[in-house]
Amino acid sequence: MTEKKIRVLIAKPGLDGHDRGAKVVARALRDDGMEVIYTGLRQTPEMISEAALQEDVDVIGLSILSGAHNALVPQIIRKVRENGQNEVIIFVGGIIPEDDIQGLLDAGVFKIYGPGTDTRQVSREIREAVQAATLVD
């Protein structure tokens, strides 16, 4: 089997204790044929960038409900890029206030998916983005 599998890290930074949303996304991506590395709750930016490095993922999905996104997300993106993973696609799922969205996109977030997003849309869009990134390579 030489077909390249899309590898996704699903992580939950911050201190809130809910990972139902993260698990739903993880399952949806698995059901779309991706390999999803699930790391659980309360991840620091260092832990997330380190896991992304060791797993050589194509995509990182960050599930955030805590409201700490403005602090955490840019920090995670910076660490991932510092590690040399420049092409990794980073998306955010969770509750992000309208006012913060543009800032996160400017920081390098690929897409932000609010509650109730159709998971098939998530998986289609990240598959297309990974394929586009691989073609550029």
Partner: protein, 349 residues
């Protein structure tokens, strides 16, 4: 290959990229493996297998931590295999959740793998990934198999030391692991010893081990359970120093709080010394490599066959088989002959 040089110089990004190339069996990955092979053969490969949820990941987490405490200069790699869904081809790889404590140790590298359709508890590329870690200078490679408990015993084709994890059974005779998997154990661990029945399970497993205790020359890959027999003392033979036997120890652990972990690591080291003293380290290594070559021969014959024999030839012959005109064995013979000579089996009749 620049990537290999970077990896050998210690770049974790390069290592990670090589692992991906090798896992995907890309031509670059194969070339990388060829280039790395001379640097392999030093790592101690330790397999951890056992039923789903028995605590393998939690145990691996603690074992790696203990190894690092004992040997601050040692590098530890972990390969954790989880099953690929046969329906979607996707996988959720969740073993890392139990290994977060290792995340900030730069001497530990954890890589999750999906089984990608392989049966037997490992992925097809697990052996190759272990070679990459070996060449990258990792001293210990801990390999967690898919949650097993029955026939998933491929790990013996790869590990120097195999740890089988069980949990306390509900009664004397209700064990979640089967005799077949006991035979592959170099060390048995009864984890979740904080649950009732741990002592009974330990006693039960000890008696099973003694009954099925394999004799002095381990037959790697096919550990037949033999009836226990006292060796007959031979009268006229000169007193010969017999190769001491390895009797797999049964250890109790509570992986969640670390109870018994130090003792298991001690047994791992004892097993390694035993392998080295008895010459079994080399034997095991030779056995592992032989298996690798055999698998590759099979795989390349199959892909050669698939490349050479047109799909419609196969289909035509299969429909003859379906109509009972040709037997399966005749069909196979004809297809293989087609492969070798390029002669259309239908014209050669």
């Amino acid at each position: 290959m620049a990537l290999i040089d970077d990896m050998r110089k210690g770049s974790r990004l390069a290592l990670s990229r090589v692992l991906t190339l090798v896992e995907n069996a890309s031509p670059t990955g194969q070339a990388a493996l060829n280039q790395l092979f001379p640097y392999t053969g030093k790592a101690h490969k330790i397999g951890i297998t056992g039923p789903p949820g028995s605590g393998k990941s939690t145990l691996v987490n603690k074992l790696a931590h203990q190894l690092r405490l004992n040997e601050p200069a040692a590098k530890v790699a972990i390969i954790a295999v989880d099953p690929t869904s046969p329906f979607t081809g996707g996988a959720i790889l969740g073993d890392r959740v139990r290994m977060l404590a290792l995340q900030n140790d730069p001497m530990v590298f954890i890589r999750s793998m999906a089984s990608r359709g392989a049966l037997g508890g490992l992925a097809t590329a697990t052996q190759a990934l272990s070679q990459v870690f070996d060449a990258a200078g990792y001293d210990y490679i801990l390999i967690e198999t898919v949650g097993a408990g029955q026939s998933e015993v491929d790990i013996v084709n790869l590990a120097h030391t195999t740890i089988v994890v069980d949990v306390p059974g509900l009664g004397d005779d209700i064990q979640s692991i089967k005799a077949g998997i006991l035979e592959i154990a170099d060390i048995l661990v009864v984890n979740k010893a904080d649950h009732p029945g741990a002592d009974q399970s330990t006693r039960y497993l000890r008696s099973m081990i003694r009954m099925g205790h394999r004799t002095s020359s381990p037959s790697y890959g096919k550990h037949a359970l033999k009836e226990w027999q006292e060796p007959e003392p031979k009268e006229n033979e000169p007193e010969k120093e017999l190769e001491p036997d390895w009797l797999p120890p049964v250890m109790k652990t509570i992986a969640t709080d670390g109870t018994g972990i130090m003792e298991v690591v001690e047994k791992i080291q004892n097993h390694r010394s035993w392998l080295e003293k008895t010459g079994n380290w080399e034997k095991k290594d030779a056995f592992i490599l032989r298996e690798v070559v055999k698998k590759m021969v099979t795989a390349s014959l199959v892909s050669k066959f698939e490349a050479e024999v047109p799909e419609d030839e196969i289909e035509r012959l299969l429909s003859d088989v379906n109509r009972r005109k040709v037997s399966p064995s005749e069909a196979a013979t004809q297809l293989v002959a087609y492969n070798r000579t390029g002669i259309n089996p239908h014209l050669s009749e």
